[in-house]
Amino acid sequence: MAVDRRRVPGEVRAALFFLAPGLLVIGLFFLLPIAASVLLSLTDFDIYALGDVRNVRVVGLRNFSRLLADPLFWTSLRNTFYFVLVGGPLTLSVALAAALLLHSKLVRWKGLFRTIFFAPYITTLVAVAIVFRYLYHPRFGGLNRVLELFGIPAIDWLGNPKWAMPAIILLAVWKNFGYAMILFIAGLQAIPESLYEAARLDGAGRLQLFRRITVPMLAPTFLFLGVLTTIGYFQFFAEPYVMTGGGGPLNATLSTGLLMYKQGFRWWNMGYAAAIAVVLGLVILAFSALQFRIERRRNA
């Protein structure tokens, strides 16, 4: 490329031309709202400002200092981390297990199972959440009926602060593992069979094949899914919104996204809600960066 310098501007121009629609859309619907949120988080935009814009004051970083002193924010952050750190790995493990099963040569009707496992992912979350609410009903729900067969006493899944989050994680795992499973299957199919053959000739056992070949070869898939799942799970919102009436019991399922929604659209404290959004965005950014760094170190 460096050989012929005169052609570079032309290439750049062409590239820009082709990228322009995409850049425009990203700028308009992505960068602009982000910038607006950041600006909003520096004001006290609220219900009064709706009536009259002159009621907006610039408050600098006061929203952020208030946020850090708000116990509800810390509760929501703790809940969110609980959801991400338990739900994320669980989703990926279930997905990997399902992918390995479906990749195995012994399994029949692969297409059927793939469809069944993938179906939850494409159903509407709200509809699923409502059905799960029935399943979780302490007295009439299907889950407790099954547990009863094993002599386990009824659990008030969504009413007990201790159980509400596990119940929601269960739903999220069931709903989301299908997507990760499909990508794992694709990853597994990309691993050359010759690697396994060579290892087997060297006398590697099943577990060794999995640990020394499958897992390292899937590393890029792991990274991609890890980042994607983390980002998605950090923003979890609809599950508690539909299932626990907005974060109950005792705020045990109040996620940061839900707190932001409540502050913004329930109490109409838009400035404060924007500050929550900014902090949540930074947390997600930090987490994604951390995952990339871990991956890079492993490769190095």
Binding site: D44, D46, I47, Y48, L50, G51, D52, N55, R57, R66, P138, R139, D156, L158, G159, N160, T244, G245, G248, P249, L250, F265, R266, W267, W268
Partner: protein, 431 residues
């Protein structure tokens, strides 16, 4: 591609429908009405009657779930897509009037033969006023009374329910003696702020001080109420549960695991539906007890919904006709029959179905003694925060004094904007 084309066709087919709505229905003026939850559903049954009486008006009702009604209305205000008329929770009126979304109705009321202040319960009428003007016409009333187990309270010596706070506490103690050990005489869900606020109002607390700019929660009146409230839990007279944790409150009530419950008019219908016919004589309602040395019944709060007309409406005279129609005593009585919502118009209570209902009688007595909650837009946020803070005191994580002081501190912070705005308004041009 084929699918894309089909979508487009579908979209285009909607255009005439939308245009039809905006342009009026066969020459009649179209009035758009937003009703919430059950009311929005039931009011549809009244539309044919209205249109017969008002041939020039076409009334389109849109039903909005209560849980998202507030957001939808605010979004509509911001997006300038408000309906002509809507049902508004009474606590929302200051907020929507405050942001200039509502049309003042004083002129219409003065001219109207069908709507006037004297026809309404005074405490109810007061809830739809803001800054000295009328912004809504009360549609139905919501308040709290005491539901109780007739047999258990009779055995405790209070067949008609307690009348003072001392009697109330005494009744709880006595009922506890005859209940099974795990049961509680009183149900007071910790996530509901209304009961706590009512006790405060009964003790004479203004809840908010200085024209709604400061919390009055550490004042002696609210403090006395909070001591009574928290004491009920500490003496194990009420279970420390939120409503959703309770499971089935009606069943617990039928089993005698709960003997008293401070709740609202919708439960008249629920009790009738959920308890078996043989259990129907087990329950009764009574107006609220009053603090000692104050007149009975104790005050309750004035909730419910009003009908309001939006400032952006192009059909204000027609929308007013809807209000006049729904305020007619006969229509109010019919609305009660359909929805179970208690009429805001006095005369509707003479309707035989309501007048003969002995379990609704407590409400009839109570609505004469209701007061509005503080009329500031931040109230609901404050009230919920108060209940959350007091839950910490109930659970012993914080002393009551510390909780009350913290509430006032938090409330002062929430109301900081309001103080600034009022100061700016009275102080002239200063920023």
């Amino acid at each position: 591609m084929a699918r894309r084309r089909r979508e487009l066709a579908l979209l285009l087919s909607l255009v005439p429908a939308v245009a039809g709505c905006a342009g009026g229905h066969d020459g009649r003026a179209t009035v758009r009405f937003w009703g919430m939850g059950r009311e929005g559903e039931v009011v549809r049954d009244l539309v044919p009657d209205f249109e017969r009486k008002n041939p020039g008006v076409h009334l389109v009702v849109q039903q909005i779930p209560w849980t998202s009604a507030h957001e939808k209305l605010l979004t509509a205000v911001v997006g300038r897509s408000t309906p002509d008329i809507a049902q508004l929770g009474n606590t929302w009126i200051p907020e929507f009037a405050g942001i200039g979304a509502l049309d003042p109705l004083d002129g219409s009321v003065a001219k109207s033969a069908a709507v006037s202040a004297e026809r309404y319960f005074p405490g109810v009428w007061a809830t739809s006023r803001y800054d000295g003007a009328v912004y809504g016409i009360p549609w139905y009333v919501d308040t709290r009374v005491l539901y109780y187990r007739r047999d258990l309270l009779a055995r405790a010596g209070y067949p008609a329910g307690p009348r003072t706070w001392s009697e109330w506490r005494d009744a709880m103690w006595k009922v506890k003696q005859i209940q099974p050990p795990s049961a509680h005489p009183f149900l007071l869900p910790t996530n509901e702020w209304e009961q706590l606020a009512i006790l405060g109002l009964q003790k004479g607390s203004p809840l908010l001080a200085e024209n709604g700019t400061r919390g009055a929660f550490s004042g002696p009146e609210f403090r006395a109420a909070a001591e009574f409230y928290v004491g009920i839990f500490h003496q194990d007279l009420a279970p420390i549960v939120s409503y959703s944790q309770l499971g089935n409150a009606y069943q617990e009530f039928a089993r005698g695991n709960i003997a008293m419950w401070m709740t609202g008019p919708w439960n008249l219908g629920e009790f009738r539906r959920r308890l078996s016919p043989t259990e129907q004589n087990l329950w009764m309602t009574a107006p609220l007890p009053a603090p000692d040395a104050t007149p009975w019944p104790g005050v309750s709060f004035s909730g419910g919904s009003s009908l309001a007309i939006f400032r952006g409406s192009q059909r204000k005279p027609e929308a007013w006709k809807v209000i006049e129609f729904l305020s007619d005593p006969a229509v109010q009585a019919r609305f009660y029959a359909l929805s179970g919502d208690l009429p805001a118009v006095r005369a509707a209570w003479d309707d035989p179905a309501l007048a003969r209902d002995e379990k609704a009688r407590a409400f009839r007595v109570q609505v004469e003694r209701v007061v509005a909650m503080p009329r500031v837009p931040e109230w609901e946020q404050i009230a919920q925060h108060t209940a959350e803070r007091l839950e910490a005191a109930i659970r012993g994580r914080e002393s009551l004094s510390a909780a009350l002081a913290a509430i006032d501190r938090d409330v002062d912070r929430i109301l900081e904007k309001r103080r600034w705005m009022l100061a700016r308004r009275t102080g002239g041009h200063g920023r």
